[in-house]
Symmetry: C2
Subunit: 610 residues, 2 copies
């Protein structure tokens, strides 16, 4: 008996497709055939590079941009060894893969999304390439961790504690740091930990008494608005019994603990008075006050990690002198305890305003929130579930999602099209929480969802403001427990806040929850307006939406990448960004410290001063 | 065309064999058929139970012991739901499986090793059952972690910091702790963290200024002798950049911040003056001095976690009064700095003696070690590689071994036969490091491998002394850099140590590296000799080897389990034991706190007073 074997036509597996694409991509790169490389990208495609090809944070949008970058950088980068890190997956017409590769100077990881063109076959839709370590300068961890005890007879008989003490007493005095990090919140601390681990001499300076005070000193009801899975710092995740939304003092303790355990050289009670860059010597001269002692430091690199929420914006209003009650910016608000039975007016309607109003109300204060413009509200549960749940949640952890993979996935979405991924999430949230939003609107609260309905995260990236993640205050607004007023403040009297429409709001205390200034204000204060203007606006994408003027930038302005002031850097953001982007900033600083050539491709032009 | 299908006889998979054994085991348990259960165990078999069946730490050796325990405990325990946690493995004639199960009061995990009897089929050779949580009292972690921020309007308007402050000012004053833990080293801290997590009101008291001083105050060259993978504390592993052998001050910092992060109520600078148990009220009266303030506490449970290395043994010798130099126990040794150019005699030849001699030699001190009896030496590298590598190493981590699985595997080996697993390891080490041992012997160093050649770990479990994990001192002994003398000290003169054979060792400083007393000495000091005698010797297995007199106990005497003094417990050991056994002690305390019946099966008789 004979059988005819039918030819079986099976589509190649995601693994086979990605392997084939990577092999041909690598072959084309190897022979420096830019045209052939570019043809492997879809017409509408994005290559985001974090320091591995460009020594910059750069999103190349479309084939011409890819071709231009490769023309400039391919030979020196000399990339090879592209391979998958785990089995690729397919979802609809998109095949996704975590990848790794090497360059002349380092090892990288990344993420690839393929789409199939009917004629050209598999093409890259998005590619992320991200440097992870420099060859010959690998971090010592896991299998290469330090021994600690010195086995055998040791020529240096100092103990660990003695070496630490000697270092602490000489760094900044006999020995100059290569990097000075100004600001010791989560950003400065995470960067400090990475620089320590990379062996780059650095000092983190901060004006507070101890690490973590950046959180401890804020209003007492403050808890993180981002959940624990999103907030891990480098090297040491929060323990499994850590709260979902950590209270501010607990985060403060963690940051203090982390700083010590990571052996970050950290100067508390230290203020930077001035800084100037010597173009010839390529070093900064930074005058600091360390707990009353005046010192001059000469770091090669200066990092401003003073934070998005570091420079309070307080409005200047007629009558502020005459007002007899307490008035302060939200960052200086002491909490509700001394205002029981009194009347409070809180100007503003974003996160801090809501948190403060809620705590005041719950402590028996008569409180009115002044909404000056529409605000985006999203309930914490819905944000956690629909916005972050696939990447940062117990559900994600159970499905095998690691912090590293989540960060790479997050970083792999090009900013240009990120809102397209976000809009459906907020459509779903609007539907799911319809009753909630209806009640808020009925109470007169002016809601928005961002200029293009893309919600909270895009607002954060574009302008860093304009929203409240609801953890209960909105219900108090909806039911009138927290009173609502609308409009701009015209002036204060002895005992009230008067709006431009004439509304008089009697007040014993006024809280200005009016946000924070641009981060390059720090550069102006410390270095000078000329340098601040040379660097330009910090933060935002150039999306052309409210408070984020165009032209399009493609990456966050001036964050974690070379600026137009040589050897000046900006670092900050939430815990997620402090964790993830500190790596790329640390690698840029490490490369410079080791004398590895770092030609910057595609430094952005400056379009806005602040 | 027809084919004859040959019956294929394949041996059942390890999974099928374990599933079949567990199913029949459970069925026999369910109908309370003890005889049938017992027949499922090999004649030479071991069932080790940690609190899940026996409310005790108990190894049942052989079928009769299993039958006796089940006769007493099966009905009340009501076990069910036995299943594998992952795919079982086979190695030679042994099939091994991690398992889980439930009881009336809790959920447990365990480990099973099957051997095949030609007639009876698969039989249990070793079974471990270990309670992990109490039903209705599960720890909040992972998916059930606390929220932190209170969403919605909160009737309790205090912040986290305020709640913590209120608790700190009332616990031990208006509110009595249910448990008082005396001793705040790694043992007390790990137990304190677990009790905190379980919601059992407890205070850990310690005489030092701050947590971690138990390590900081020791000789300056001290590093952990156990590697990092073996040393993790509960809930929060060391970070990936932690040294293999952490220096003492770094461990001290870790313990201090761990205590804070885990929110362990911890009273520093606190000494317990006396304790007595009220048999009628079932509470302790404990007089403490808290930084000068006298207080009386009334805990229900008293845990002595004062440590194996807490009570120095200093020999009383003629001439100690006359000696003009410094003399101190190893625990009080300040380090070598002030002895440069001088002559030191170190009495003893175990871990501390070697560490101190090495540091003295490296700092230019003329040092003589007095070996009083033979010592077991094992090189750290060899111990890590051959002794611990399969369970606690980067190699183990890479192979998927977790700390939990390693601890369960370790706990699954019955003490009765543990030496049989250990002897081949030390045979291999002796062969691998032959040159090293030959050199040491040639220098006159008296070596041993334990009474039955079972090496370091058995010495630790049996007597807690008699060894040095070599991190370099042995080479200095072998080459004569550290001088060696032998015998007992007869007396001291103004400027020398004189041995019983008349040898005179000139000395400017004498260090007594003479070890520590039995842990029940703490009970004698604190509560009284009558209670210490009632409780008997603490530590050791009753192996009948040197310093561990029989009869055989089966478990470590009095550790982590009910003693003959009601509501008195002992906790301690190395970091591994502090981590793993603190769980079972915490669950025993939690059950009592919640009023869950805890009838103790098989409380050991007392055979030795100390």
């Amino acid at each position: 008996m004979t059988q005819t074997i039918e030819p079986i036509t099976t589509a190649p597996s995601p693994q086979a497709r990605v392997d084939a694409w990577l092999a041909d991509f690598e072959a084309a790169l190897a022979v420096r055939d830019v045209e052939r490389v570019v043809a492997k990208f879809a017409v509408d495609s994005f290559w985001r590079d974090l320091v591995s090809f460009t020594w910059n944070l750069k999103t190349l949008e479309g084939r011409d941009a890819v071709a231009d970058m490769l023309g400039a950088r391919l030979a020196e980068t000399n990339p090879f060894g592209f391979r998958t890190r785990e089995t690729p997956t397919a979802d609809g017409d998109v095949t996704s893969a975590f990848i790794e590769f090497e360059t002349a100077h380092g090892r990288g990881v990344g993420h690839l999304r393929l789409k199939t063109d009917p004629e050209a076959g598999d093409q890259a839709w998005t590619l992320l390439t991200a440097l992870q370590e420099l060859k010959g300068h690998e971090e010592r961890k896991g299998t290469t961790r330090v021994m600690g005890a010195v086995h055998g007879s040791d020529p240096d008989t100092r103990s660990w504690a003695e070496k630490r003490h000697d270092e602490e007493t000489t760094l900044g005095y006999e020995n100059q740091p290569y990097v000075l990090v100004v600001g010791g919140g989560q950003g400065g601390i995470a960067l400090g930990a990475r620089l320590r681990q990379l062996g780059v001499p650095a000092i983190v300076v901060d004006r507070h008494e101890r690490p973590g005070d950046q959180w401890r000193k804020r209003y007492k009801s403050l808890c993180l608005h981002d959940p624990v899975w999103y907030d891990h710092l480098p090297y040491m995740p929060f323990p499994q019994n850590w709260p979902v939304f950590a209270p501010k003092d607990k985060i403060g303790d963690w940051l203090e603990f982390y700083t010590r355990v990571m052996e970050v050289p950290y100067w508390s009670k230290t203020t930077c008075l001035s800084a100037s860059f010597d173009d010839a010597a390529k070093t900064w001269t930074v005058e600091v006050d360390r707990d009353g002692e005046r010192l001059v430091l000469h770091p090669a690199q200066l990092v401003l990690a003073t934070g998005m929420s570091g420079k309070p914006s307080v409005p200047t209003l007629p009558g502020q002198d005459a007002f007899r009650g307490d008035q302060h910016h939200s960052s200086a608000h002491p909490g509700p305890d001394s205002y029981k039975g009194k009347r409070a007016v809180v100007v503003g309607s974003n996160n801090s305003a809501h948190d403060i109003c809620k705590a005041l109300y719950e402590n028996g204060v008569d409180v009115t929130m002044v909404q000056r413009s529409s605000t985006h509200i999203v309930r914490s549960d819905s944000l956690m579930d629909l916005g972050l749940g696939d990447l940062y949640s117990e559900r994600a952890v159970a499905a095998g999602m690691t912090t590293e993979k989540a960060d790479l996935t997050f970083a792999s979405l090009p900013y240009r099209i990120m809102h397209e991924f976000q809009i459906p999430i907020y459509d779903a949230i609007r539907e799911r929480d319809k009753d909630f939003y209806d009640r808020l609107a009925a109470a007169g609260f002016e809601l928005d969802w961002g200029d293009d309905d893309s919600g909270l995260f895009m607002k954060y990236l574009r302008r860093g403001s304009g929203y409240y993640i609801d953890v209960g205050a909105s219900d108090l607004v909806a039911d009138g427990s927290i009173k609502l007023a609308h409009g701009q403040v015209d002036h204060l009297t002895e005992d009230s806040v008067v709006l431009t429409d004439g509304t008089v709001l009697p007040a014993d205390v006024v809280v200005y929850a009016t946000g924070y200034g641009s981060m390059n204000g720090w550069a102006a204060d410390l270095i000078g307006q000329d340098v601040a203007d040379k660097v330009g606006k910090v933060w935002g994408l150039g999306s052309g939406t409210t408070k984020d003027p165009g032209p399009w930038e493609g990456e966050q302005r001036n964050m974690w990448k070379p600026t137009h002031q040589e050897n000046l850097w900006f670092h900050g953001g939430n815990l997620h960004q402090s964790r993830h982007y500190s790596l790329y900033l640390a690698l840029q600083l490490k490369a410079r410290h080791e004398g590895i050539p770092t030609p910057v491709y595609g430094r952005q032009e400056v379009h806005h001063l602040n």
